[in-house]
């Protein structure tokens, strides 16, 4: 019986192949793995942000039931810091090793790891560890306010931005600030480490967006050949950048497992997760715009200051999108970095650019007000037909379609631009818009595809599915090229024993992975054709090139044979193909970005001081959506996260001592069901074949960029209050100007 053909699976709305596992509780996340004889690790956090650890009193904790050991400075193996190199693939989030010395650099930094037989015992004992500290003067609790604070780290300039600004008839000079944001993946960070006999191989289950980076880093830290380290991450309870690179809990857990000769699992409690595993850093951005009276931009200057920790140098590049955003001859982007006594920040969804576009797209709106011009018209006036940064043509840009299409769907033409001019009963309606953009990149990737004698196909790649739908799009790719039904395609991801795959980050997974999977599929089909045409094969003597692939079968001369029949006749259990793909020289000819437009309506009820987002209309240009169901879901989710960025989210550090005071999900608020308005997303379908054969540019970050400024601009329209500090809380709206 021939399998059902599946033409054009790529690009079709496809239910996720891992959906049933996730919805029945069968999916194996890192926190769900346990091993025979496994111990439980529970970290103890520093209660100060700056100073030294003078002493630990461990007697009471050690005497608690079930406690096996307590690791700390002075009782921890000598390890090597990872070189922390992106190029070598061993980047880590925090390069300092746990318990390396007695210095305390941030609140929550681990001072001990209690290891006990049960979770209850480890937790109970962790709370009995007593620490004495020497607090030091000079704690840096947050970003400084001067324009020249920090270390200059990046610089871009074209034209004469200062001169043009000085000569411009209309100018704007504004500063925008943002609180640090927590990623809050619902699965906390977790490590299960085992030194597996007989050869003491280090096998680690980790909730990570990059199994290969973690493997390479662990190999360097524990001085092992990479073949003796395996990192596994089958299911990840989301990441948003939080889980790109390894954090210290994983090193401490692996060290404990080696020391104690038993597997150890550490699942970070939410509070520690928020304290120690990164955040989007605080930023302060000054935007200066110069324009002609007709709205033509003549100068853009974007100066950013972002925070990093005392122990690492993470740069959140706020100005990343600015040089390419508008047709403007004179542009300068400066980035400065300031060290504060907080945990190390890390990339968070649309890192840098989400913050940067809050500032830039708010400033554009302010300029439109100053010019008495429609903000949509101002954006179209300065539309960049080619990338003004490189001078290269865009591979595919349809931002104008996004802006105009979303405006029409939203009903922008009927907007009354007067402040507070639109009302509905007690509520004042505010409408705002902003543009979205995110770069399109690719990483190298390898994959393996096996056609099996039972008619099924196995596709394997060492990238991860962090919830974006990678399992499903890999299967779609194989189905597209083989005609084998989706139900007969098995996909394995998230294991360093599989062919090397990329980080799940930067919106690069789809464009990186699918070409490699396609290459491996074609290689497997070529191997099958070679088998089928040799002596004893179904198509013996024919030229392999004359065989066509059709619905899970090879076809020639009016005859067809299923993959399974061909393999069975030859007594083969399977044939395997390997493939890889990497970025080519396309970047020399074209500039690659995704684009979008968000239109937002807010409702402000001044009588009860209630601000809500009422609806969002977004048109997004991501090239081809491989699985439009999952792509749309991701964009909607990003818009929800943008709503959080605009109105709810901010980590709060005590201004006296830099202690993090809201490291929990009640005091750090993320959007809930009741916050979420009607979200209307249109994915434009312009495949970008200059980028890859599937025309896909990736979808993870683009939906977040531009949301916060669109909301802030709508708040201004409703209230007349231009709030340049996120999140926009009711307290700020009620405070006098």
């Amino acid at each position: 019986m021939s399998p059902t053909p599946e033409p054009h699976v790529v690009g079709r709305r496809t239910p996720r192949i891992d959906g049933e596992d996730k919805l029945t509780g069968r999916a194996d996340y890192t926190v769900d793995h346990r091993l025979e004889g496994m111990l439980h690790g529970y970290p103890v956090p520093a209660s100060i942000a700056h100073g030294t650890l003078e002493s630990l009193t461990l007697d009471a904790a050690r005497a608690m039931p079930g406690v096996v050991d307590i690791l700390h400075h002075g009782h921890f193996p000598d390890l090597h810091r990872s070189p922390n190199s992106m190029r070598q693939g061993d980047a880590v989030s925090e390069v300092r090793l746990p318990f390396e010395d007695d210095r305390i650099h941030y609140h929550g930094q681990y001072i001990a790891l209690v290891v006990a037989e049960t979770l209850e015992q480890a937790r109970a004992a962790a709370f009995r560890v007593e620490a004495r500290y020497h607090r030091e003067a000079g704690v840096v609790t947050g970003l400084a306010t001067g324009d020249d604070e920090g270390e200059a780290v990046r610089h871009y300039t074209r034209g004469e931005p200062e001169l043009a600004f000085g000569l411009a008839p209309v100018i704007l000079d504004r500063t925008y600030t943002m609180a640090p944001e927590s990623h809050v993946p619902l699965e906390p960070h977790a490590t299960l480490a085992e030194w597996r006999e007989p050869d003491r191989r280090l096998v680690v289950h980790e909730s990570t967006q990059g199994v290969f980076y973690q493997r390479n880093a662990l190999a360097r830290i524990f001085d092992l050949p990479i073949e003796r380290v395996e990192v596994i991450s089958h299911y990840i309870g989301s990441g948003f950048g939080n889980k790109l690179f390894m954090w210290p809990h994983a090193v401490a857990t692996a060290a404990a497992a080696r020391l104690l000769g038993r597997p150890v699992r550490t699942v970070l409690p939410r509070q520690l997760d928020m304290m120690t595993t990164g955040h989007r850093p605080a930023s302060r951005q000054r935007i200066r715009l110069g324009a002609e009276r007709d709205g033509s931009l003549v100068s853009i200057q974007h100066d950013s200051l972002t925070a990093t920790s005392m122990v690492d140098r993470y740069i959140d590049a706020c100005g990343g999108a600015t040089p390419s955003a508008y047709a403007c001859d004179s542009v300068a982007v400066h980035q400065r970095l300031q060290r504060v006594h907080h945990g190390t920040p890390c990339p968070m969804r649309a890192p840098g650019e989400a913050s940067g576009l809050f500032a830039l797209e708010s400033a554009i709106d302010e300029l439109a007000v100053a010019l008495d011009m429609d903000p949509l018209a101002l954006r179209l006036k300065n539309y960049a037909d080619q990338d003004p940064r490189s001078g290269l043509p865009w591979s595919s840009k349809h931002l104008d379609r996004c802006l105009e299409g979303a405006a029409e769907r939203f009903g922008w033409a009927t907007r009354d631009p007067g402040i507070g001019a639109m009302r509905d009963g007690d509520e004042i309606i505010g409408q705002g818009m902003a543009a979205a953009t995110w770069f399109a990149g690719r990483q190298p990737c390898a994959a393996r595809v096996t056609l099996r004698a039972d008619g099924s196909v196995l596709a394997a790649c060492g990238t991860q599915d962090i919830g974006t739908g990678t399992y499903t799009i890999v299967a779609q790719t194989v189905a597209e090229l083989t005609g084998v039904p989706m139900a007969r395609i098995e996909v394995r991801l998230g294991d360093t024993e599989l062919p090397a795959g990329p980080l799940s980050g930067g919106s690069m997974t789809t464009a990186s992975t699918l070409p490699a999977v396609a290459a491996a599929t074609r290689d497997a089909l070529a191997a099958l054709k070679a088998e089928a045409t040799r002596a004893g094969g179904d198509f013996a003597g024919l030229d392999p090139a004359s065989l066509a692939v059709e619905a899970g079968a090879l076809v020639a001369d009016g005859r067809r044979a299923d993959f399974a029949e061909i393999l069975a006749r030859l007594g083969r259990s399977d044939v395997t193909g390997e493939g890889s793909a990497a970025p080519g020289d396309e970047r020399r000819e074209y500039s690659f970005r995704s684009f979008g437009a968000h239109f937002v309506e807010v409702r402000w009820d001044p009588g009860i001081s209630r601000l809500r987002v009422a609806r969002v209309v977004s048109h997004i240009d991501i090239g081809r959506a491989i699985n439009p169901v999952a792509a749309r879901n991701q964009v909607e989710g990003a818009i929800v996260m943008g709503l959080g960025m605009a109105l709810l989210e901010g980590l709060v550090h005590d201004p006296r001592d830099a202690r993090l005071v809201n490291a929990n999900l009640a005091d750090y608020r993320i959007p809930v069901h009741a916050d979420v308005p009607e979200i209307d997303v249109e994915l434009l379908d312009y495949p970008d074949y200059r980028f890859n054969e599937f025309g896909a540019r990736g979808v993870g970050e683009i939906g977040l960029t531009g949301v916060a400024p669109a909301i802030a601009n709508a708040v201004y329209h409703a209230t007349g209050r231009r709030l340049r500090d996120l999140p926009i809380t009711v307290e700020k709206l009620l405070a006098p100007d």
Binding site: L23, V31, D32, T118, E187, N633, I639, L665
Partner: protein
């Protein structure tokens, strides 16, 4: 001076449950949390821990038919109670109508909050006090955080499941 404790041996308490329809007796420490007992002792890892503080809803289970955060209950409080987890919803290979609706509407991304979302949804669909309009459903579901932000699809799934279960449409808000 530290308090003194009797450390040896650590006392355990037997707790009898009806777990997903079957009787179970489990010996637990007095400070053991229902969530941890389900996950670590009884092998039911479908119920997730997101915050351990009743702030995220990932651990939602049914206790005698009511949706509760398993992280906020000591296991010893559950003596004689019926606990239903995500593993107890499907009948063999046949998904519960709410699970099927979540699949059909792509009402998840990473899937980590999904068991809790589904358990809350099943409970509210069976609760006559909870009206069927979208505003009420959003409010009733607001104890279940989804950081992937699949809320719109979750809402659509719940309203679709309402039809499948009760054959009535949720009133428009």
């Amino acid at each position: 001076m530290l308090e003194t404790h009797d450390h040896s041996p650590e006392a355990t308490v037997p707790v009898r449950l009806t777990l997903n329809g079957a009787p179970v007796t489990v010996e637990v420490a007095p400070n053991a949390i229902l969530l941890d007992v389900l996950r670590e002792r009884l092998g039911l890892t479908g119920t997730k821990k997101g915050c351990d503080h009743g702030q995220c809803g990932a651990c939602t289970v049914h206790v005698d038919g009511r949706a509760m955060n398993a992280c906020l209950r000591l296991a010893v409080m559950c003596e004689g109670q019926a606990i239903t987890t995500i593993e107890g919803l499907a009948e063999g290979d046949r998904l519960h109508p709410v699970q099927q609706a979540f699949l059909d509407h792509d009402a998840f991304q990473c899937g980590y909050c999904s068991p809790g979302q589904i358990m809350s949804a099943v409970a509210l669909l069976e609760d006559p006090r909870v009206a069927g309009d979208v505003c009420t459903v959003r409010e009733a579901m607001s104890g279940n955080l989804c950081r992937c932000g699949a809320y719109q699809n979750i809402l659509a799934a719940i309203q679709d499941a309402r039809l499948r279960l009760h054959g009535q449409e949720g009133d428009e808000a």
